[in-house]
């Protein structure tokens, strides 16, 4: 069993590396930040009208006191209207995870989302956006549709430093008795280009977040992360990051997450 698990993790990592190696597709903007690439927050910029992008990544999960796990993330994004895009994603995983005792392969829930940007940043007014995602119950033992509504504000502070506030409301339509049906959360993200005025292809990102635990008895979970996005092709970007829980609920294991991803537009 353990051997099968190791093989599965190795397969996921291999797929991730292959995806990373498909160099030179099209410029995903390293400054246009998306959730999971590599951290949890979004900035308030939508994809361009008629732009399509594939964003994918592989994560190594290191939950405390459990086996090592792996996760693959793949998301397709399409700018179907001005300042608005659609996204469809999957997150299959295997091995140990912080939020469940299961460690077998899980296809994960399929997500479908819409992102809309209301305005660009002007004068002292931040850019505002909203993102709504639905998670279909395609994963192991999943039931009911989960929703997440995310409000996003992005604003420059100083000349090149930018803050991104994400306010989340996660809603479970079929929560277990011991679980919360509404889970709020907030993330403060930060980004800054690295290398100005001599290099223009790298962005540093960092975040601190707090969210309620999914279990009713537990308190808040505080997490943090840092990462970097690097343009590697005319329209492609790789991302690397590390995230961890600084304080967690009693029943959820804290975990360290190492993320590597690749995105391209076309």
């Amino acid at each position: 069993m353990k051997l099968i698990r190791k093989q599965s993790i190795a397969s996921l990592c291999a797929i991730g590396l292959v995806l990373l190696g498909t160099a030179n597709a099209r410029a995903n903007d390293h400054n246009n930040l998306d959730a999971h690439r590599p951290l949890s927050f979004d900035d308030a910029e939508s994809s361009g009208y008629r732009e399509q992008a594939i964003k994918m990544g592989a994560s190594l999960l290191l939950p405390s006191g459990r086996d090592v796990g792996g996760e693959l993330e793949v998301e397709y994004v399409y700018g179907f209207a001005r300042n608005t895009h659609l996204s469809v994603g999957i997150e299959p995983s295997i091995g140990g995870r912080g939020d469940t005792n299961e460690n077998g392969f899980d296809f994960g829930n399929v997500s479908v989302g819409v992102f809309h940007n209301f305005n660009r940043e002007f004068n002292n007014t931040p850019a505002f956006s909203v993102r709504a995602d639905a998670y279909l119950p395609t994963g192991r033992d999943a039931s009911g549709v989960d929703f997440r509504l995310r409000g996003i504000a992005s604003k420059m502070v100083g000349q090149y430093d930018r803050l991104h506030v994400n306010v989340d409301l996660n809603v479970k339509t079929e929560a277990d008795d011991e679980d919360r049906s509404v889970v709020p959360g907030v993330i403060l993200g930060y980004s800054r280009p690295l290398g100005y005025p001599r290099r223009f292809n790298r962005t540093f990102v960092a975040e601190v977040g707090v969210r309620a635990s999914e279990e009713k008895e537990d308190g808040a979970i505080v997490s943090a992360g840092v990462g970097v996005r690097q343009q590697v092709g005319y329209q492609s970007v790789i991302d690397l990051g590390i995230q961890g829980d600084l304080a967690g609920g009693d029943n959820e294991r804290s975990q360290l997450r190492l993320v590597a991803g690749y995105s391209f537009s076309f």
Binding site: S46, R50, E51, R120, Q159, Y196, P197, F200, Q231
Partner: protein, 409 residues
């Protein structure tokens, strides 16, 4: 006796000063006064309006915003639109040295604008110049996003940034097509036309393809401020425009190998001479630098010349310390409107109504616009049969890289 001499010297100084100020500030074209009055009428102005519209009469009196501006000129939307898809996209990177030079141009524009709006204008000729020059000598591998290099400028002038961005994309994609080894010459010509159609149909803030009278655009109350205050940085801007003009005939009708070879002397001249020239009387124009391309695609050439003129107008507005921030914002909106496709909708090349300066685009259909440059020299072969232009003829650049291709019309 001594006080009499002092009085005479003081009077001479005063008269010289007044004459010099008039020469430097006003520099109207022969019919400038008439043009501005007429332009004002176009915008629905009254008599008071007319007096304000005449920059030659009072260099510190600004023309008001037209009342018929479209709503998009005030939009607060991001409105990012992805470029037209095509198998030629990014083929410019097959000519690496040109691709990298163009990447550096984007940085040069953005850094100068950011410094101008963040209180660093006094360092433009020194620190900013050195910073930009380093990038020009060490061009980036990928095209940077100008909006990210100049975020303060973008927050203040977001629509302008969109106007610039979209026409820069047209620049980039037409060059990608010319550099594409996958397309035949006929396919390239057809695709360039499609790119133009995509440009004018998909963005509200497209620039007109009509041959605007550059003399009129360059005789606003703020005109020439930038080139006078910051000659070195202005030289860089016009150097970029020289490259952007010269590159079309450098690539036009050639194989990839020929293009690579052709860019070697052009790139050398760009880096060694054109970027550092401060003696140009006017910005480089498309038809003098790429006469073959300009003759084949006059409307596209005009878009680029008008874009470059808009750059000059914005530079001049930002460099004019005597304007308030609000006045600068208004004049930038007005400048966008003056070169926008929407302002000239329904008009055609060859239109010249002496009562309407805004619609002074008097070159014939199919002829690349050469502008009406107040400080240039007559360019005989381009203007053959157009005697009315002689007082405003274009500057002559006998060293233009593609002058051997200059076919005339």
């Amino acid at each position: 006796m001594k006080s009499q001499k002092q009085f005479i010297y003081a009077s001479l100084l005063l008269i010289s000063g007044l004459l010099f100020a008039r020469m430097v500030v006003a520099q109207p074209t022969h019919d400038n006064h008439e043009h501005h009055q007429q332009h004002n009428q176009h915008n629905g102005g009254n008599g008071e309006h007319n007096r304000m519209e005449n920059p030659a009469a009072n260099a510190r009196t600004l023309p008001p915003l037209p009342t018929n501006l479209p709503s998009w000129i005030n939009n607060k939307d991001r409105n990012h639109i992805y470029r037209k898809r095509g198998r030629y996209n990014d083929d410019i990177y097959k000519i690496q040295s040109l691709a990298r030079d163009l990447n550096a141009v984007a940085v040069g524009h953005a850094m100068a604008y950011e410094d101008l709006v963040t209180g660093k204008a006094h360092k433009l000729e020194t620190d900013t110049f050195d910073r930009i020059n380093w990038v020009l000598k060490n061009p980036p591998r990928f095209m940077p996003d100008e909006g990210n290099i100049s975020p303060t400028f973008g927050r203040k002038y977001g629509v302008l940034e969109q106007v610039f961005e979209w026409t820069h994309i047209l620049h980039a994609q037409t060059i990608d097509v010319l550099a594409s080894p996958k397309l035949t010459d006929a396919q390239k010509e057809a695709e360039i036309e499609r790119l133009y159609q995509f440009y004018v149909e998909n963005v509200p803030y497209a620039i007109t393809g009509l041959p605007m009278n550059m003399g009129y655009l360059d005789s606003q109350p703020y005109s020439k401020a930038f080139r006078q205050k910051y000659p070195k940085i202005n030289g860089l801007f016009w150097g970029y425009h020289w490259l952007q003009g010269a590159m079309y005939d450098t690539l036009y009708g050639k194989t990839l190998e020929q293009q690579r070879t052709a860019y070697v002397p052009v790139g050398k001249r760009y880096h060694e001479v054109e970027l550092y020239r401060t003696d140009r009387p006017f910005m480089p124009m498309f038809a003098e630098l790429s006469p073959r391309f300009a003759a084949r695609f006059p409307h596209i050439s005009n878009v680029f010349d008008n874009l470059h003129m808009l750059h000059d107008m914005v530079n001049d507005i930002l460099a004019s310390d005597w304007m308030t921030e609000k006045q600068k914002e208004e004049q930038i909106k007005r400048a966008i409107w003056m070169v926008s496709a929407e302002a000239h909708k329904g008009k055609k090349p060859g239109d010249f109504d002496p009562n309407d300066s805004l619609h002074d685009h008097r070159f014939m259909p199919g002829m690349p616009g050469m502008g009406m440059m107040p400080e240039g020299l007559h360019h005989g072969d381009m203007h053959e049969g157009h005697g009315s232009h002689d007082s405003n003829g274009m500057q002559e650049d006998k060293n233009a890289p593609n002058s051997e291709n200059h076919t005339g019309h």
